[in-house]
Amino acid sequence: MSTLLWIALPYACLAVFVAGHVWRWRHDQFGWTTHTSQLLESRLLRLGSPLFHLGAFGVIGGHAMGLLIPATLTEAIGISEHTYHVVSVTGGTITGVMLVAGLALLIARRFVSGRIRRVTTTMDKVLYAALTAMVVLGMSGTVVINLFGEGYDYRETIAVWFRGVFWFQPDPALMTGAPLVFQLHALGGFLFLALWPFTRLVHVWSAPLAYLWRPYVVYRGRRGPAPAAQPTPAAVREAGLHPASTRR
């Protein structure tokens, strides 16, 4: 059971994540977009979208920091456990609040505005449900256990297992002892990755950084052969008047 949950499932999800992106990239360039809805509703989006995105960048950065950087490394370069804790709690709180506020606004917008409700797809609903579930699990883990509870040092267990997944030697034993919310959050995270390529989240990989360097005006040649020239009305008229000349 634990092998299935902590080894097979992560790899299955990662496989779907990669294969899904490859497949969608190759077969659905036309659907690869943010699917902007600002045209239909701008007021709530103006506030919610920047909050959500900046919060998400912070939260993603925080996860990278917490999961990918081993505790031994931060200690080795002289960052004390206490400093690390202060930085991660403040950073996490600020970006977390932004993310939650932004997400709430974006979801509210989907309910409040009739125009937006009408264009919300099933996939949008699934995406927002998944995002909400992930945020609730993650926040409750942090708030209930680490701020008010006895505390749990995920850097010694979850993070090690997580890195193990990428070294191809994940140790399920590290996860079986973790509190349930953290277990669910970790599994949810991988399931979320599996969902990713089938949602509008693919826009993340198209972040237009190349725009900073390219020339302003883009010139491009026409692809493929041109259509045959069409006769003008005068030519048609001529042909009608002198049919002999065209019969040849």
Binding site: H27, H35, T36, E41, G114, A229, T232
Partner: protein, 536 residues
Amino acid sequence: MRIRAQVAMVMNLDKCIGCHTCSVTCKQTWTNREGTEYVWFNNVETKPGIGYPKHYEDQERWKGGWKLDGKGRLVLRSGGRVKRLSRIFANPDLPTIDDYYEPATFDKDILVNAPAGLTDTPVKKPYSALTGEPMKIEWGANWEDSLGGNTFAEDPNIARMPAEAAAKVKFEFEKTFMFHLPRICEHCLNPACVSACPSGAMYKREEDGIVLVDQDRCRGWRMCVSACPYKKVYVNHATGKAEKCTLCFPRIEAGQPTICSETCVGRLRYLGILWYDEDAVLAAASVPESELLDAQRAVFLDPFDESVQRAARDAGHPDEWIEAAQASPVWKLISEYRIALPLHPEYRTLPMVWYVPPLSPVLDAVGAAGRDDSDADDVFHTIQDLRIPVEYLASLFTAGDAEAAGGVLMKLAAMRSYMRARTLDGTVAQELLDGIGMTGAQVEAMYRLLAIAKYDERYVIPAAHAKDAAALEAQAAAQPDCSLDCEGGPGMGGEAAVERFHLVDAEEVRPGRPGLFSRRGDGRRGLTINPMRGRS
């Protein structure tokens, strides 16, 4: 010098009757789809008026087009690259659907299915095409048609004038002054939309200068929409991608005029090619405002100049194109007769749809003032006295240069009087010719082009295949072994050429085979397990 060809358009506003045929045929062809209900690649607005979308000319508000920064460098009005990316999550300059209008549909079934013998006539009701709810229609793409909206005091071109002048304008307009302004994408030489597109999905075609959105590469960052000062890029809210006027490129490639031109009832549109020097564009867009009109005219290269012809030939342009440039009605109207003017040159995008400003409102004013509208002297005086209409036209077409706008009107008035004398009693009004600095032959040719030119004179569009042939010849000369059957060569091109006229290759459409790789109803590639939209 880098010589390029541009397919450009001129519209003679005197002849526009505001029938909207161009808009309707364009919509039938390109935007009668879900997601583009509110989109008019071609729209006709009444001037003065606030236009479509509302107040689009107010660049303080929408930040469209280019401006000169403190150091005189050309920058997008909405800011530099970093600033634009920093605002990508929500674009503060994006118009919302209410700035266009809420598209409506009607429950027409109620008419079709009404039982016989009703005492009251059944009435169809409008429903929002966005929400499906009943709605009240309160605005549209041509709500102010023929000054119907009483909104002209809000016209950004008038709002800029001092209050006193604006009051006078209102008065003058109510009495005399009104005209229709058909607008499509300008296919600019210095397009702000392309320059603002973060993903590089928008491009200007090398062959003919048509500005397009690559639908497969657009990622929905919607920066082009706000950057275009003419508001001629639109968000398709069903696909989440940008769309715009294509200048009917499949027709242009086949040597045919655009749909709006083909169906124009007033026959007031002209299409032709212009040579321009790509390296001169940036400098022309960066001159001080008072020099903009002349700088933009100077970007075009004289097709009769032999060095230009040589450059064109060296750049691989076929003879057919060089001849077409000489016969181009657009070149004649812009550069030879100098009666066509660009719309809002102060946006600095170098627009490629130019306009012959309307003389008729001025003639009406001449009549209203009790003068003789067929007497050139009277008309000249009125043009000088009637500052308001001329200044208004100047704020549209010459970046405020009333002298230049008046000069064009004088030419048009002189042409009328000259031709009247010529046809009535055969006299040549030499003093009129001297006044406008044109020869009799030129004025007569200009008259013919404006008044009676036939289809083939109004649309001089060299087919794109000539270019392919020239390119292949060059290729064949470089690789003598390669027969005509080489990759992409004419030996294998016959069928493909016909197919390319459609948006989809014939073999790629697989009717009756729904699956992951099949195409949507509109012919585009799409997923059938649809992550995009749930509704039909």
